[in-house]
Structure formats: C-alpha cells, structure tokens
Amino acid sequence: MSSLRYAARLLLRDWHAGELRLLALSLILSVTAITAVAWLADRVGAATEGRASELLGGDRAVVGNESLPPELADKALERGLSVSRTLEFPSVVLFGEQTQLSSIKAVESGYPLRGSLLVGDHPDDARRETREVPSSGEVWVEPRLLLQLDAEPGDEIELGASRFVIGKVLFLEPDRGGGFQSLSPRLMLNADDIADTGLVQDGSRIRYGLLVAGEDQAVSDWAAAVEPLLGDGVRLQRPGEGQAGVSRAMEAAQRFLGLSALLTVVVGGVGMLLTIRRYVARHLDRVAIMRCLGATERQIGAILTWKMLLLGVITAAVGTLFGFLLHLLMLRFIADLLPDLPSAGWQPAATGVVAAQIILLGFALPTVLRLRRVPPLRVLRRDLGDQIARGVGAYPIALGAVFLLMWWQAGDLRLAAWVFGAVLGTLLVLGLAAFALVQSLRTLRRGRSGIILRLSGLTRRPLTASIQIMALGLGLMALLLLTVVRTDLLATWQDGLPADAANHFLINIQPEEAEGVEQRLRDAGIEANVYPMVRGRLVAINDETVTPEDYADPQTRRLMSREFNLSQLETLPEDNTVRAGRFWADESSPEPAFSVEVDIAERMGVGVGDSLTFDAGGSRYTAVISNLREVRWDSFNVNFFVASSPGVLDDAPATYITSFYLPAEERRLLTDLVRNYPSVTVIDIDAILDTVRGIMDQGTRVVELMALLTLFAGLVVLLAALQVTREERRFEGALLRSLGASRALIRRLALGEFLLLGASAGLLAGLGAAVAGQLMATQLFELDYGFNVWLPLLGGAAGALIVTVAGVLATRGLYRSSPMQLLKGAEEG
C-alpha cells in the first residue's frame, strides 16, 4: 500500500467528515498571521528604511573632506543606480551692508534622490514639496538667513564673485541632519554656478557628497565594491546611521512588530494544542480498527505522518494566500503614510510554508503519532487507549517548536529567550492559579451553594477546567497585552519624546554673551542650561600618547581623528544616568575629573580611574575619569560625550551652547536673539522632530493592525476550547434532561459555567498582563511604566463577556433537540 496515496485519501475523507476543519483553521490562521506579519514587516520595514533614506537624501551617501574619486559615481551608474553630487562649505553672504556666514550647498538636478525639499515663495507661505533644484542664477535660502540679512525673496545677494537672486525660501532639506556640521543658515544653489563664484579653491574647507539610490541589491553591491576604495577622510553612510534619535525610533518600532508576531505564534500554538487533542481522541477508534485489521505501527505512523505533511502543505498554501491578501488590506490602511512601497518579495511565502511545517511537526505530529500506540484490543474494550489523547509527553516538542519559531521570527535570541521564558512562566503560573481557583470553587460547592455551582463542569472536571482557564487566560492575556498594555506602552514611548522636546539650538554663543542669552531666555519664560563647549582632541590615555591608528575599528578611528566637543557640568543633566563611578555633584569640592558617555568609553577602551588628556587650543587638560554616563540621545537636548568637573576647562577657549523648546507663535524671540547677538547661530530642529514623530506614528498604526490579527487568533483559540467540550456538553445536557432538568436550567448551567470560566481566565489574564506589561516596559523598552491596577478587573469583565457570548453562540442549538437524539448524537460524536 502506498502510504502517501492512502494518506491523501484519508485526509480528504477527514476533511469531508469535518474532522480537520478546526485543526486546519488553527493552522491556516497561524500561517496567515506569520506571513501577513512577515510581508508587512518586510515591506513596511523597507519603507521605514526608505524614510530613513530620506534623512540621508539617498539609499547611501559618501561624504568626504576631499574631492571624491569619479569612479565612485561611475561604478554606481554602471549598476543602473541614480547618483547626485553635492558640495557644502561655509561662506559669507552679502546683502547691502549686511553680511552673514552661511552654509552653502551646491546641488545637481535630481537632488535629493530620496525625500524632497520643502519650499515656499515667502517665509510665511505654506510649505510645498518640490522635485526641482535652484535654477542657474538663483539661490534658495532658509528663512533665518532672510531674517539675519533683513532680505526678502527676489532680492539680490552676493556670494563670492557672483550675484544671485533669492528665488525661494527653503524650509526643509531631508538630509540636513541634526549634527553640528551645518550650523549656519543654509543657502542652496545649482552646482553649475559654483565655478563662477570662485569659492572652491585648493585648500578650501569643502565637504563633498555623493548620494546614490536605486534597487536594493545593486545598492548593496555598489557599497561593497566602493567601501575598500574610500580614503581615511571619506565615509560611507547608511540609512538610520548617524541619526541617533531616528535609529532609536526605528529600533523600537521593529521591536514592537517582532513582539506582535511572537504573540500571534503563541496564541496560534495554543489553538493547535487544543484542537489536536480532540482530533486524536476522535481517531482512537479508527486506528484501533486498523490495527485490528492488520496495520503495523509503521504503516500507521507513515500514514499519519504523510497526512500531517500534506495538511501542512495545503494549509500553508491557503494561509500564505490569506496572509498576502491580509497584508495588502493592512497596507491600504497606512497607504498615505507609505507612498513608495517596495514590491512584495517571495520570502514571506517561504516563511509561511516552513512555519506551517514547524508548527505541525511541533504541535500536531508528536501527539498524532501517539495514535500508533492505540491497543488493538480497544475494538473490544472501549476504555483502552483513552489516555493517549490526554498524554502530555508531546508538549516539550511543542515548546521546542514555539521557541524555534520565536527565535526565527524575532531574529534575536535574547528577545526570543525572554519572551519564551515569560510565556512558559506565565503558563505555569496561570495553570497553578487556575487549579487553585477551581479547587476553591469545589470547596464552595460542598457548602450551601446553588445547583449551578454543584453541577457546573468547572467544579466537576477540575483538571479540564484548569487547562481551559489556562489556555483562555493566555489568549486573553495576549489580547490585553496587545490592546491595553500596548496602548499604554506606546503612549509612554511617545511621551519619551515629549511635545516640548527641545526644538531649537543656540550655538556659537561667546563667553561674554552667555549670561545675557540665558537671561533673555529666562525673561521669555524658558529654562535652558547654557553649556560651555570646548573643542579638544584626545592626545593621551593614562599619559600614553594615542593616535587614531591605535584603533582597528574604522568608526572609532574616525571618531578619534576628530575633535571632541567637551563641556563642563556642575550637575548631572536629567537625561543622563551614571552607570559606573560617582558623579561629582555630590562632592563639596570635586577633584578634577572627566565624565564619559558609556558607549564612547567602550570604544576608546577606557573606564573609571583612567586618565584622559585633551589638547584644546594648544593647551593640555588632564583629569581622571570619575564616572561613566548613559545618555538618552532621543531627548534632543544638548549632550556631551565627554564632560569635565567645574574648573578643569576654565581657561580653554570656549563657546556656549543651549537648547530649548519654543512654540511656533513665539518665534519673535529668535529674531530678537539674532539681532542682539549677531554671532549666535540658531538651529531649528522642528523639521527633524516631525520626521521622527512621523516614523513613530507609522510604527504605531502598523502595530495596531498586527494586534488585530492576534486578537482574531485569540478568538479562534476560544472557539477551539469550547469545541473541545462540545460533545461532553451535549451528552451531559441530554442526560440531565432525561433526568428531568428543564432546558432553561441547562442553559443557566452553561451560562453560569461560561461566566465563571471567562471571569476566572480574564482575572488571571489581567493580573498577568499587568505584570508582563511592567516587566516589558522596564526590561525590554526601557520605559517608565507603572502597574495598571485596572487590568485584572477589566480582564475579568472582558473575559466573562467574550467567553459567555462566544460560548452561548457556539453551543446554540446544542440543547434544543430531544434527549434521545442528543444521547445518540453524543455517542456518534
């Protein structure tokens, strides 16, 4: 006999007999969830990367302080990629009597390759997107340059040897970035005009850029090809790099997505475990007959294995199709946020097929294969072999499969291990709590309680009831986590970037102006710390000379070749946390000391107790590191990699810097500041913050859609749990009715049981979700989130409602027919 052919026939018969539907549904749902999440994550991830590309102006950028070798662009063009060259340098702009140091940027048509410029005809005009660049003879300028020059669009300005008309107001260039390299107001002109200005000479301080964009693979190939060609002062930038705030936001969004996918896998798994036991129980007799008729264990095993494999292939195909359609539907919701979606790849489909087989092999096959051991004597003695459907021996394999899926879906062993441990612990605690709850109900039953409690399946089948509460509890907990806790966490996360995050930086404040600026800000009701900033080069660690060449890592080498922005701190800024050593603010007369940011300390290979020597303006400043600080860069406040205790850098040449939040309606203050302190440069980072917020909002909506999917999986688990006891309920209902119970009583019994079951599961789920939420917030997302005391109550109410509604719907009609029919039906079931 061909096992495969026979398995296919049996599978078809199982399907016609309706025995596979729930199992297939569970599986299809799991695959749908996994593939939809995979496709969504794949494409949204690529699109989010696209947003990050906008912040770079292209998919990759090469920047250098010397003219870039032409072969970089040639190699890109060879691969069919778009390229655009940029030049940036500081220069003075003249308008009548006024002069202003500006940051000049020359661009070619096509710039930017990703994202677009926001321009207007007048500073007060609405901003509009454009794909153009300044035409020859025209410059576009930032509003604050107009302010500083007292000029208007249409005026003529001088730049080097050329004269230009101010054509448009430039509100935003996507790749402006938040770094300190572009402090002066922007003036943008066409690259064709640059030679005539005579400003680009040998030895000029010019930053050359090359933006590259195009198809993913070609871009990666190009990057790999040119990276070895780049000299010391030249750097290849990738999206999300060098923009601390943005990359943090992206990372957080991806974690939320990963977590949603993991929860869907777990909930789907619970559904599988519930249905497979029922499937096995219903197959005991069939296998016993086959054994009796001469089937060997091997034959049974082969047939069952083929059946499961075939089922896996079919459900994977269907689930993958559904997953694809579902992700299209989800994308429609966020279409306006993601205008340029990359096309769908085939990998998620492969993910679906592999996931289906892992789920089946892990959850179904070990349990199903236990059927091989059904004693053939069962054909004569029906009670034999019942324990096979109840065995728990297959659970470790299922757990292994869950872990494998988690690891695979999360792509992060630590996250997977953490969530897996959490799920296991949760199941254990839920199971114990459920058992304790059921036992206490049993105790109540012995007292003077109504018939409902006495006859409730909850107290008569304590083990089954405990398992049901555990499974439902896990499903409900996932739902609560993905709805209430997720919303809480997202709110907390977005609070991490408060509405009043600093949106303006003032730099280049001269020492004698510092106090005046601080006073003026204070007068306007703004509390801002004004920090001194000293540019210094690290020259020695522990009195031994260091050079960039001492470091192997290219990024560290670049870092060490630049000057550090050093500052003096009296108190620890709010968004800094000391991770090692002690901050000097606690000491009355602190020793000269440095405080170093932890990541940079690790790169430099230094720790508390090491001494650092910086060279600033020709003098050397040495002090011992007394503490390491962790800095929350996404606060957008002024922060420093290295800061000294008061006094250390007193005689070093310094300028001052500050950041503050200024509402749009109070922008007049900026005009005031610029007029009174002409050398002070104002940087407006509202545009950058808007981009970061956009990415966060986008992430939020995607995660919400994924939560819907898990919610659906949870509801199927619920129905599966009810289905498991359907036959038992039918039989008991019939028995009670034959003993004289009215239909109304039986309905009340069922209602009472559903209410109790749902409320118990929900209460435990709420408790669990509150604890899990707090743990996740502190351990995974580093958010400050408190224990939500309402969750257990909410969970209990929601659980009772959902389980009762679903239960009543699922058992509708079960008690309508006559007891005799029911008894017959129960036997056949």
Partner: protein
C-alpha cells in the same frame, strides 16, 4: 491463564485448554462479565496472556510482538464486532478494501466489490456507514471479515446491536459465508439460539470453559 488488569493481576481463566479444529464453528456462551470478550481478544492476538500460550495453526502468537501479530491478523484473521466498527469516513467499499490495502494485496477494489456483492450490498458500495441501516452495516463488516479469505473468523456478539429479524438475517449470512469458505469460526455470544447453530457450544463461567 493469568491476565494483567487495570488493578493488578487477575486470574481469569483456570486450566483453560481449548483446541479448535480447522473449519469447525465454536460458540462461547457466557454471562456478562464472564470474560468472553477477553478470551476472544486473546484468541485474536489483540492482547497477550501473562501466562499460557496460544497457537493459530503452528504459530505461537504469544511469542510474536505486536506488529508481527498485526500482520498475522491481517493475513489469517477476520473480525465481526457487535458495534460493527466500520470507519465512518470511508464508504462501504473502502471499508472492505481496508484490510486488503493494509496487507498490500493487489486488485483490492475488485476483490472488495465482489465481497460486497456476496453479502448482497453490491449496489450500496458507495454509501457511507451513516447512510446504511444497522443490518447493512453488519453485512459490510461481514464482507470485510471474509474479504481476506481468513483461516479464522472471530465474531463478538455479531447480532447484539440488531433487532431479532435483522439479527436472524445477519447470522444466516454469517453461517452461509462460513460454510462457503470453510473458515474456522469462533463466536462469542450470550444468545443460546445463535450459539446452537455452531458445531460446538462452550459455556464460560468462573474462569472455566465447559461443554454446554
């Protein structure tokens, strides 16, 4: 003969020595709980005694492992049960084909179709068990029992779930097929009328088997 029960060892049969000749039909009568079905299960190799030996032909089935016994069952034994035990998802024809397919017999469908005709159900081969009456289901079971041309046919209360008239027709068929094929028949029942149709009737009580 001792037997391993759920609550420890049960000594069910004492000094039980039974020998059944080829082509013979034997009825085992006994009250409910006397161990009739257990004896049948042991004879069929569905279970093994903790003491004692059972031979089918020259084969000591107590010396075989479960898979070897399964193969033996498929080749040499046929079964008719009180509860019919047809597979619900399979048609009548497919149910009859099952033992042939399990043993890898060629032309299973044609053989099975002939077996169904032999029990008068040639027209109903495409029906599922739930579409058949109790008597028809048992006739399908009889067709399935004979389709492998077994040397030994074991029947456990074959008319127990049927009304008297239907039961009569089913037992007629059973004995008719038995005579036609010359199969050895062991029949367990509590119905003395059915038992009387066998060559030999044995009574099982108190773990002893005696001629009735």
């Amino acid at each position: 003969m001792r037997f391993q029960g759920p609550e420890g060892e049960i000594r069910l049969f004492r000094n039980l020595m039974l020998s059944i000749g080829a082509g013979e039909s034997v009825a085992i009568l006994g009250a409910s709980g006397s161990g009739k079905s257990t004896l049948l299960g042991l004879l069929a190799g569905l279970d093994t005694p903790s003491e004692g030996r059972i031979f089918i032909g020259d084969t000591d089935i107590t010396a075989l492992d479960e898979d070897q016994r399964a193969i033996l069952r498929g080749r040499e034994l046929g079964f008719v049960f009180q509860a019919f035990h047809l597979l619900s998802g399979l048609t009548a024809l497919e149910n009859v084909m099952l033992p042939l397919e399990l043993s890898g017999t060629p032309r299973a469908a044609a053989t099975a179709r002939q077996a169904l005709s032999d029990v008068g159900l040639g027209e109903r081969s495409g029906h599922y068990p739930r579409q058949l009456s109790g008597g028809e289901q048992q006739r399908v079971a009889i067709a399935r029992a004979f389709v492998t041309s077994p040397r030994l046919l074991l029947a456990d209360e074959p008319t127990g779930n049927l009304d008297q008239a239907t039961g009569g027709r089913v037992s007629d068929l059973l004995f008719q097929r038995n005579h036609e094929t010359g199969t050895t028949l062991v029949l367990v029942t509590h119905d003395p009328v059915l038992a009387a149709r066998c060559d030999r009737v044995l009574q099982l009580s108190d773990g002893r088997l005696e001629a009735a």
